[in-house]
Amino acid sequence: MSEPMVTLTIDGTEITVPKGTLLIRAAEQLGTIIPRFCDHPLLDPVGACRQCVVEVEGQVKPFMACTTEATDGMVVRTQVSSEVARGGQEGALEFLLINHPLDCPMCDKGGECPLQDQALTHGRNESRFVDEKRRYDKPVAVSEQVLLDRERCVLCARCTRFSEQISGDPFIELFERGALEQVAIYEDEPYSSYFSGNVIQICPVGALTSTSYRFKARPFDVVTGSSVCEMCSAGCTTTVQARRGEVQRQMARTNPAVNEMWNCDKGRFGYAHLTADTRLRSPQVRDGDGLVDTDWAAAMMAAVSAITEAREAGDGTVAVLSGSRLADEDAYALSKYARVALGTDDVDFRTRFADPDERDFLAALPGMPAATYDDVEAAGTILVVGLDPEEEVPILHLRLRKAWRRNTARIVPVGPRAGSLAPYAWRHLGTAAGREGDALAAVTRGEGVASVASAAYDSGYAHPHLADVVKALRDDPHPVILVGERATDTLDLVSLLAGATGARIGWVPRRAGARAAADAGLSAGLLPGGRRLDDPQDREDLEQAWGSLPAARGRDLQQVLTDAAAGKIKVLHLVGVDLLTDCEDPALAEQALAKATVICQDLARTPTTEHADIVLPVTARQERAGNATNWEGRTQPFNRIVDGPGAVRDDWEVLVQLSALLGTDLGFHDLDGLNAERERIGVRREPHPFVEPGEQIELPPVEDAGDGLALVSWPLLLDRGVMTRGATDLLATARDAVVALSPADAAARGLADGDEAEVTGAGGTLRLPVRIEELLVDGCVWLPANSTTPNAATLVAGGPARVEVTAAAVAEVGA
């Protein structure tokens, strides 16, 4: 079905555009940029600034190009050919300038300001305004990160529309009226948004500025480069600007397929870690109790000695753990380094203890009907399983919200807690902690999938909305199922469900490099390109390229740590992973680190590097080139914008050199060579199937619940992570840690919203305010994973994830 088109004339040139196209967009197609302030392609038209005046033949009054749809036969004249348009535009500009402070010399926007540019191109040289200008205090803080100068504001309502329409944090609003109309926040409700930086970027004047960039640089004295954000798996493209070798700001780079024109505050303002005092700048080796700086030669020789010594003591003595931070090239190099240089398959990119069967899913990834952002936007029904997009992959949250707002998409969170999807949830299929599979099995049975039809797959899951969800999936021609890392064990069911409903699947891990790690085979039994170590054909293919591979499948994280703690594994090579903070069982990790010789290859000092024997400092994303693959499986290049500090080297480079010292040539010496090899190897010609239709699948056995409440936990976007070190203003916008309870569980404990509660697990006690959430199932309690001391994992000390919540004793006042 072809789109209905209309043909109109703009400045004498005929143009055919889809019906509904705004005149301002149609003119753009002819290369005519009608001046505008309020208009923004991703925001609903508002017609506030009245800058885009055009003349339409046959009409008495002039029209606004940003709110007028093109119609057939319309004859439009812009500033190019119409005195009315030109005069109208000049008049509007004159109005905008009468109250403008004209403080360009000290305004951050100077040099990239639409108001400044337009005043230059078609403003009067002298002002006719001789009266008194509006005065406001300036600037006022909208948040810790965003400052507002109301004198510069042209009241275009881009920021307030962004908040209402895009991010859904409507606490920045227009207040007052007439000449006193102004952007403000509610006195008692702070502007809390993970996307606040976007309002700075879309502000067409210098009214909204960031505390981080304020007075730092001019657009004409910065070095600008393009990058891909490494804060999560979203894959937002960014523009990074540096001055004198230091990053000054990061902005969203337009990318319709991924982040459109937005990014989150973590991706925008999170660059202080590059220069924070925790940054590793020099190789280090252990000297007694402490680490001392050394040169690369000494550090590398120390690493080689440790590895060689261990390998001489026997096989299975060296393991490699990475933390899903690595770029595509690093992941590949690490995978090859482990298998070829170290001869081990003991590798794992995860910080959680995964089911061994997950390997089969990771191997099948290339053959999955993969969902994209556009699929999410177009979907009518979206299941979100074990994933809280706003906290984990914020730009995905914006796409979900767009689907919800534009198409009234039916968003169905599946799991114990709907989290930040709660306001957008059409139905919530609540499950017990870690039992997302029960709900999915029930939905899959509902769709008539034979292999789960037998009673053996009926966990007894019942929910009043189950039938609604089954019907919605069946009726929707293009549903999407998004599965987070926590629910990776449900992917067999998801695969069957997708087969039955035509759904596309998105596996959405939280960290930026998880997909790259899976693609590179950074998991025991897995090889690059969706190959399996136990598949003879795969082995043969890869051995031709790589040489001899380990004979048997290696150990995963839990086994590696257990064996290291037992002294069986002598050397742990950690690449970009802070086990003590992120590992599912920090206590076990600590035992392993205490026992083994630890090589830490990382960006920054972390609790884990304190246990290192050898520290190898590496470059960050902005300091090097490479490629990054996001959750969709989309690969995008990034470039070097600044030099890394001190002696840092790229991760892949360290691995090449270490391999050489160990006597193995990895076969590439630069990124081009590395990528050429990756391309040659590619993905398996015929992807491994994951679940065959009709294949019998198993639901995990129900474990004995135990006492207390089940702990459900995932990280907040802004927490104690390594990548936000030093970003003081950004961290000041972090959400407060709370303990979330269902209404019934809270009532049973006599707790009300905002009360202080004590959360007690085997590893300690936390005191936190209570938040009561409707979309949290009874019997579960939620905590942020890494916002408290002890953090959530330490709280349960690696034991069963059970905690008790009680009202906190009231401290005696004045005692």
Binding site: R50, P62, G91, F95, I98, R134, R135, E173, G178, E181
Partner: protein, 440 residues
């Protein structure tokens, strides 16, 4: 051409003691229009209103029957009838008196409108300051519910109509129908982008009509007496009668009811003429946003066409009369300050233009005007008119443009340092010039 002169239809009950109570209202033909409407097919009611030629009484004068026929039916969404009782145009006070004295006539009109449009819920959006009218309406609505004129089964007919009263917060912009709808929905009162129009996407996105109090109060009479009855008054294109708010320097200012087409001079005489010793100098025919006209144009008939031909608008029927003792510039300043204060701030020309115009006029009246300010005023008005988001901006320019057109010499005298014309008594400017926006 029908009859002209004074009429007593809408005002007929004004002097009846206690007619605001249901019992007295019923004794004076109350709710007969509603009873008739229950026996009339909805489409026929709209047809009667169309045939009557009734034009909207809130200012724009759009044919009411036509407006009603645009309201989308059978869309699966409810239809809403909204009464615009946010009477705020300077010089206008007709709706307030009607609601205070004869509130049931508005309630009856709402039900009739609801029946005509197959609507089951109506809203009266009342200007916030009208506390007394609010009390009267609330009591009338309660009585009407109790008597079965409102509710799920009106007088046993099986027809339903509910009525809610909403008090605004006293913003002029909320008299603009889409700003009114936003305000009624609990948002900031600012005009909406059109299209879509309220007839298809109005209150809560549902088909909606927004009509003035006087328009709605007229509907029951049309249903009872028919279109021809209405057309016995007024002109062919401006039939019927109109509430007139006559104010200014005359002996008996107040609300009157005249047939449309009645000459303005006749109305002035009817109100006892200009105050002693004063001559009519200029007048605003329909509220402060309608271009003022010089005394020489006071002989025209008061109907939509004649007033337009004379270069102004009939507006709300607020006829404001000024004598030779009054300065045009000062009058224009006061109007401009009003619009500056009431601009909602959404669009640039109205927000910034009003701010600028006020300051120039304030400066002029303070004796600091410059000759070039006259052309500057004209230019600024030209940049507002037709470029602002809604009609408020256009209205803001009317007094200035018309003032300069008919009384330019008075402006010139002021900016050349020769003060106000002889015989003019200076007004105290009611708002001292002060910088805005001071403080946080």
């Amino acid at each position: 051409m029908g009859a002209t002169g004074e009429v007593r239809v809408l005002t007929a009950r004004y002097d009846v003691p206690d007619v605001h109570t249901l019992a007295v209202y019923e004794q004076h033909d109350g709710y007969l229009g509603l009873r008739k409407a229950l026996e009339t097919a909805p489409a026929d009611i709209i047809e009667i209103v169309k045939d009557s030629g009734l034009r909207g009484r809130g200012g724009a004068g759009f044919p009411t029957g036509l407006k009603w026929s645009f309201v989308a039916q059978n869309t699966g969404k409810p239809v809403y009838v909204v009464c615009n009782a946010d009477e705020g145009e300077p010089g206008t006070f007709k709706d307030r008196e009607l609601m205070e004295k004869d509130p049931h006539s508005l309630v009856e009109g709402m039900v009739v409108s609801g029946l005509a449009l197959n609507s089951v819920h109506g809203f009266i959006y009342l200007r916030g300051e009208f506390a007394h009218a609010g009390r009267r309406l609330r009591a009338a609505i309660r009585e009407a519910y109790d008597a079965g004129y409102l509710g799920d089964d009106i007088l046993g007919s099986g027809r339903t109509f509910h009525l809610s009263l909403h008090r605004g917060a006293g913003a002029y912009i909320c008299g603009e129908e889409t700003a009114l709808l936003d305000s009624l929905e609990g948002r900031r009162g600012q005009p909406r982008l059109r299209p879509p129009f309220p007839a298809t996407h109005g209150l809560y996105g549902c088909p909606t009509t927004v009509n003035n109090v006087e328009t709605i109060a007229t509907a029951p009479f049309l249903v009872r007496h028919g279109a021809d009855w209405f057309r016995q008054w007024g002109t062919d294109k401006s039939p019927g009668f109109k509430l007139m708010c006559i104010s200014g320097e005359i002996h008996r200012p107040g609300n009157y009811e005249f047939a449309l087409g009645t000459p303005i001079r006749e109305m002035i005489d009817h109100c006892g003429g200009m105050l002693d010793g004063r001559e009519l100098k200029f007048f605003c025919p329909g509220g402060s946003s309608t271009p003022l006209l010089p005394a020489s144009k006071a002989d025209i008939g008061y109907d939509f066409e004649s007033v337009a031909e004379a270069g102004s608008l009939l507006g709300t029927g607020a006829l404001m009369l000024y004598s030779d003792r009054t300065s045009v510039v000062e009058t224009v300043l006061r109007f401009t300050q009003f619009y500056e204060h009431e601009s909602c701030g959404k669009c640039t020309p109205c927000r910034e233009g009003g701010y600028w115009l006020s300051q120039i006029l304030e400066r002029m009246v303070a004796g600091k005007g410059r000759p070039e300010d006259l052309d500057l005023l004209t230019d600024i008005c030209g940049n507002i008119f037709g470029r602002s988001f809604c009609a408020l901006g256009d209205g803001m320019t009317s007094p200035i443009v018309a003032g300069l057109e008919y009384f330019r010499e008075e402006f010139e005298q002021l900016v050349s340092g020769r003060g106000l014309p002889d015989g003019v008594v200076p007004q105290d400017t009611w708002r001292a010039s002060q910088p805005v926006g001071a403080g946080a």
